[in-house]
C-alpha cells in the first residue's frame, strides 16, 4: 500500500529539508511552557484541526503514505517519519490521526469499495472530512460482538435502529463506521455488517457525554429509522466482523506507534494528562529523595514501555510471537498511565487536587487526571480482556465459559442493564 514508487525523485533528506522550511514558514510554534487548560468543550480544536490539515494539504505534506490515486503522496514510511520528526514543536492536527486517518481511512483502504476510497480518503486528506467509529453500545462494553443495533433491508438500502456509545469525537465528524446486526438467526459474530453513515443523516441524534475530568469528546448516538443506501456497506453484508478486525488491528497499530498514516506526535490536547515531572518542578520538590525515586521509576517505566513495544512489534513481524502478544503492550500501557497519575498525585503531596489561585495548574491537573485514571484500563478494550487474551491465546490456558458461542444471536440470554 505504501510500496508505490514515489513519482518524485526527491530523497528523504531533501524532503525533510523542504518540510523544515515549509513548517517554519507556515505553522505556528507550540509554547512548551504553557500549562494545559482543563478539558471542556473543544469544538474550536476540531475547527482548528481542519484548518491545519487544509494548510498541510495546500503545502503538499498531507497523506504522505496514502496512495496517490486516493489523494495521498504515495511515499514510503521513511518520508512520513522524517516529516513527523520535523513537525515536533509545531501546532499539528494531531487529533485527526486517531481515528480518522490511522483507523478509518486505513480500514477503507483495506476493504472499502473504489468509490468509498476515492471519496472519503481524499476528503480526509484535504481536511474536509472527519471519520469516527460507532462500535460500542450501552448494553455491552468489552463484548463488542454482542451488539443489538440492527440494520434491516429496505428496498435497495438499509434502515438502522439502536444506539451506540463511547464514540470518540463523533460530534465533530462527518461520517461514522457503524457496526450493526443484519441477521439475528446467525451466531453473534456472523450476522454483523459495517456501514459508513453520514452524521447528518435524518433520525441520527448525537449527544456528548460529559466525563469526570470535564471533557466531552465521547458521544452517544441514537439511531431512529436512519436510512442508508446499499453503497454505505463497507466490506461484505454479514461480513462486518472482518471489517471490525481491520479497525481493531489498525487501532492497536496506531496506539503502538506502528501506523504509517499518523502524522506528527504529541499529546492530544482534548484530554490533558498529569505530568509527575512538571508537578515536581512546580512544587519545588525535585531534591526530595523520595520524589527522585518516583521520578526515576517513571523514567524506568517510560523506557521499558518503548523497549517492550520495539521487542513485541519486531517479534510479531518476524513470527517469534503471535499477534495476541500485542495485548501485552496494551496492558503495560495501562500500568504506565496509572502509575503516572498515582505518582503525580503523590508528588503533589498536600497540594494534590488544588490549583494555584483560580487556575488549576499542574497540581490541580494531577487531581483531574487522577479522576480518569481507570480510563487507561478501559478504553480500547478493558485490561481484563487483555489478560484473558494473553492467558488463553499466548499461554493456551482454558477459555472462559461462553454460553453464547455458536448459538443463534436471537437465542442468547441478555441482562436487563
Amino acid at each position: 500500500m505504501t510500496a508505490n514508487a514515489p513519482e518524485t525523485a526527491e530523497s528523504v533528506e531533501e524532503f525533510r529539508a523542504r518540510a523544515r522550511s515549509w513548517l517554519a514558514a507556515n505553522l505556528p510554534r507550540l509554547d512548551p511552557d504553557a500549562v494545559p487548560p482543563l478539558p471542556g468543550d473543544d469544538d474550536h480544536l476540531w475547527l482548528r484541526a481542519r484548518e491545519l490539515q487544509q494548510k498541510l494539504h495546500a503545502g503538499g505534506f498531507a497523506g504522505i503514505c496514502f496512495p496517490r490515486e486516493y489523494g495521498g503522496l504515495g511515499l514510503p514510511r521513511a518520508y512520513q517519519d522524517a516529516f513527523t520528526e520535523e513537525s515536533m514543536g509545531y501546532e499539528m492536527p494531531i487529533i485527526l490521526n486517531i481515528p480518522t486517518f490511522s483507523i478509518c481511512c486505513a480500514t477503507l483502504l483495506d476493504v472499502g469499495t473504489e468509490e468509498q476510497k476515492r471519496q472519503h480518503i481524499g476528503a480526509a486528506i484535504r481536511g474536509e472530512e472527519i471519520l469516527v467509529q460507532f462500535l460500542s453500545e450501552p448494553s455491552g462494553g468489552s463484548d463488542l460482538a454482542g451488539l443489538i443495533t440492527r440494520a434491516d433491508r429496505d428496498g435497495d438500502g438499509w434502515v438502522i435502529n439502536g444506539s451506540k456509545t463511547w464514540s470518540t469525537s463523533a460530534y465533530a465528524a462527518d461520517y461514522g463506521l457503524c457496526l450493526a446486526r443484519t441477521d439475528s438467526d446467525k451466531p453473534k459474530h456472523e450476522g454483523l455488517t459495517m456501514f459508513l453513515v453520514p452524521t447528518n443523516a435524518p433520525g441520527l441524534t448525537i449527544n456528548r457525554i460529559r466525563m469526570v475530568d470535564g471533557s466531552t469528546e465521547f458521544c452517544e448516538e441514537f439511531f431512529d429509522n436512519v436510512r442508508v443506501d446499499a453503497s454505505a456497506v463497507v466490506g461484505e453484508v454479514d461480513g462486518g466482523r472482518a471489517v471490525a478486525s481491520h479497525q481493531l488491528f489498525h487501532e492497536r497499530n496506531a496506539v503502538g506507534g506502528g501506523s504509517p498514516y499518523v502524522s506528527g506526535r504529541g499529546a492530544t490536547p482534548t484530554r490533558p494528562k498529569s505530568d509527575p515531572f512538571a508537578v515536581a518542578l512546580a512544587t519545588g520538590r525535585t531534591a526530595d529523595p523520595e520524589v527522585r525515586t518516583m521520578l526515576g521509576e517513571m523514567l524506568t517505566l517510560s523506557a521499558v514501555r518503548s523497549q517492550l513495544r520495539a521487542r513485541v512489534s519486531a517479534g510479531i513481524a518476524k513470527g517469534h510471537l503471535g499477534p495476541p502478544a500485542a495485548s501485552m503492550l496494551r496492558l503495560f500501557h495501562a500500568e504506565h498511565s496509572m502509575t503516572e497519575d498515582d505518582h503525580a498525585l503523590r508528588i503533589a503531596g498536600a497540594t494534590g487536587g488544588f490549583g494555584t489561585g483560580p487556575e488549576p495548574g499542574y497540581t490541580g491537573l494531577a487531581g483531574v487526571s487522577f479522576l480518569g485514571r481507570q480510563g487507561a484500563g478501559l478504553g480500547g478494550g478493558s485490561t481484563e480482556m487483555s489478560r484473558n487474551i494473553i492467558s488463553e491465546r499466548m499461554l493456551g490456558m482454558p477459555r472462559e465459559l461462553a454460553p453464547d458461542r455458536g448459538v443463534p444471536f436471537n437465542q442468547i440470554k441478555r441482562g436487563s442493564r
Binding site: 521520578l295 523497549q307 513485541v312 494473553i390 492467558s391 482454558p398
Partner: protein, 377 residues
C-alpha cells in the same frame, strides 16, 4: 533474550547448558548447600574458561575473543543460560574485573598478563567495592590508599560482600587516594590481606569479608589512573548486565515451570490454569517477563556499542528487573502452594539468587535516583 541467534551462538549456549547440568544439576547444588561445602571446583572453572566464558570481553590481541563479534551481547546470552541453572562459578566477578582491566588498558600500568590468566581460567578475580554495612557508593570508599613515597601505596580498610572472595586469586579494590578514587589489583595472598567467609542467601555463590591491614602495593598495581571513573562505570555496567540477564534466565525457567504446574495441578475437578483469578496473574507475569527481556536486551545492545545512553539503560534494566523479578517469583511460589516454600522444591534456589541480585550493585530504588541524576533533575 534475543529472538534470533547465529548457529555459533546456539552451539555456544547449548554447550554451556550441558556443561553446567553435567557438573552442577540443581539437586547437586541443594545437597552441597546442606553439606555446607563451600566454593566451586577450580578444574571445572578452567574447563568453563576453555569454553569461552571468560574471553568474551577480551580483545583478540589480549588473548580473548567473542562468538558473534559482539562479546557483550554474547556474555549476556551466556549469563541468561547460566541463570536458568543457578550456576556457581565466577562469571560475574571475573568478567566484571576483566571489563575494567580492558577498559583501562593503555591508560595506566600494563595488566596484560593478568588479563590472560583470567581469560584462561587459571586465575579468578573479583571486585572488592562494598564496605561493611554500607550502601552502594563506589565513589566514596572508606578504604584508604596512602602513598608510601616510593610510588607505591599502603592499603588500610575492610571490604565486604566480595563475591567468590574465598576462591579469588586477585582482588580489584576501590580505595580513596589523595587524587580521588582509584582501583588497585591486589593478590589475595599478599601480606596483610585476610579473607573471612560472609553469610549470603544464594546457595551457589560464596561471599567474603576482606580485611586490608597495611597492605603494600607497588605503583604498577593501579588500574588506569586515580580519579578516572570510566573503567569503574564500565565494570558497573557489565556487572548489572550479567546480573539482569541471569535473573531473566531464571525467571523464564520458573515462569514456564509454574505454567506447566497450573496445567497439571487440579482442584475441584479442573486444572488451576482454568481459574480466571490465576489466569489474570499469569497474564501480568507474562507481560513483565517479556518486559524484563526487552529492557535487558536493550541494555546489552547499548553496553555493547558503548552508547552514550548505556548508563541510563543499565539503570532502567536494574530498576525494572530487580523489582519485577521478585514480584514474579513470589507469585509463582503462591501459585505452587505449600510445596513452593519447601527446601525440596527448586523455587527457592531462584528466589535466593534474585533476592541477592536485587540488593547488589545498586537496589532498584538506588537506580531510580541515579536515573533522576542522569536526567539532570
Amino acid at each position: 533474550m534475543e529472538f534470533e541467534l547465529t548457529s555459533d551462538q546456539k552451539l555456544f549456549l547449548s554447550t554451556a547448558r550441558d556443561f553446567l547440568e553435567k557438573e552442577y544439576p540443581l539437586d547437586a547444588l541443594r545437597r552441597a548447600a546442606q553439606d555446607e561445602r563451600s566454593g566451586f571446583d577450580r578444574g571445572w572453572w578452567r574447563r568453563a574458561a576453555e569454553l569461552g566464558w571468560t574471553s568474551l570481553l577480551v580483545p583478540e590481541e589480549l588473548g580473548g575473543g567473542s562468538i558473534s563479534g559482539h562479546g557483550v551481547r554474547d556474555l549476556a546470552l551466556l549469563a541468561e543460560q547460566l541463570g536458568a541453572g543457578i550456576a556457581p562459578g565466577a562469571l560475574l566477578p571475573t568478567n566484571t574485573v576483566l571489563a575494567g582491566l580492558v577498559a583501562a588498558h593503555g591508560t595506566g600500568p600494563d595488566h596484560s598478563d593478568i588479563i590472560g590468566e583470567l581469560a584462561s581460567g587459571e586465575k579468578v578475580a573479583t571486585w572488592a567495592v562494598y564496605e561493611p554495612g554500607g550502601q552502594w557508593a563506589p565513589l566514596r570508599p572508606g578504604l584508604t590508599a596512602t602513598p608510601t613515597g616510593d610510588g607505591g601505596f599502603r592499603l588500610d580498610g575492610t571490604k565486604d560482600r566480595v563475591e567468590a572472595a574465598p576462591q579469588a586469586d586477585v582482588l580489584l579494590v576501590t580505595a580513596a587516594t589523595p587524587d580521588g578514587t582509584a582501583q588497585f589489583l591486589v593478590p589475595a595472598g599478599a601480606e596483610g590481606v585476610s579473607v573471612t567467609p560472609q553469610w549470603g542467601l544464594d546457595i551457589a555463590r560464596w561471599f567474603g569479608t576482606v580485611q586490608f591491614d597495611g597492605v603494600h602495593v607497588a605503583a604498577d598495581a593501579v588500574v588506569g589512573a586515580a580519579g578516572d571513573e570510566a573503567a569503574m562505570e564500565r565494570q558497573f555496567q557489565i556487572a548489572l548486565l550479567i546480573q539482569c540477564a541471569e535473573v531473566c534466565g531464571g525467571l523464564t525457567k520458573v515462569f514456564d515451570m509454574t505454567v506447566q504446574w497450573a496445567f497439571d495441578r487440579y482442584s475441584f475437578g479442573r486444572p488451576i490454569a482454568s481459574y480466571q483469578a490465576l489466569k489474570h496473574r499469569f497474564a501480568d507475569m507474562r507481560t513483565w517477563l517479556e518486559a524484563c527481556h526487552a529492557t535487558t536486551g536493550a541494555a546489552a545492545a547499548a553496553v555493547q556499542e558503548n552508547a552514550e545512553n548505556a548508563a541510563q539503560l543499565v539503570s532502567v534494566a536494574k530498576s525494572f528487573v530487580g523489582e519485577r523479578s521478585l514480584w514474579i517469583l513470589q507469585d509463582c511460589v503462591q501459585i505452587h502452594g505449600g510445596i513452593g516454600v519447601t527446601w525440596e522444591h527448586d523455587l527457592h534456589l531462584f528466589l535466593r539468587r534474585a533476592t541477592l541480585d536485587q540488593s547488589l550493585y545498586g537496589t532498584p530504588d538506588d537506580h531510580r535516583r541515579r536515573l533522576a541524576d542522569l536526567a539532570g533533575l
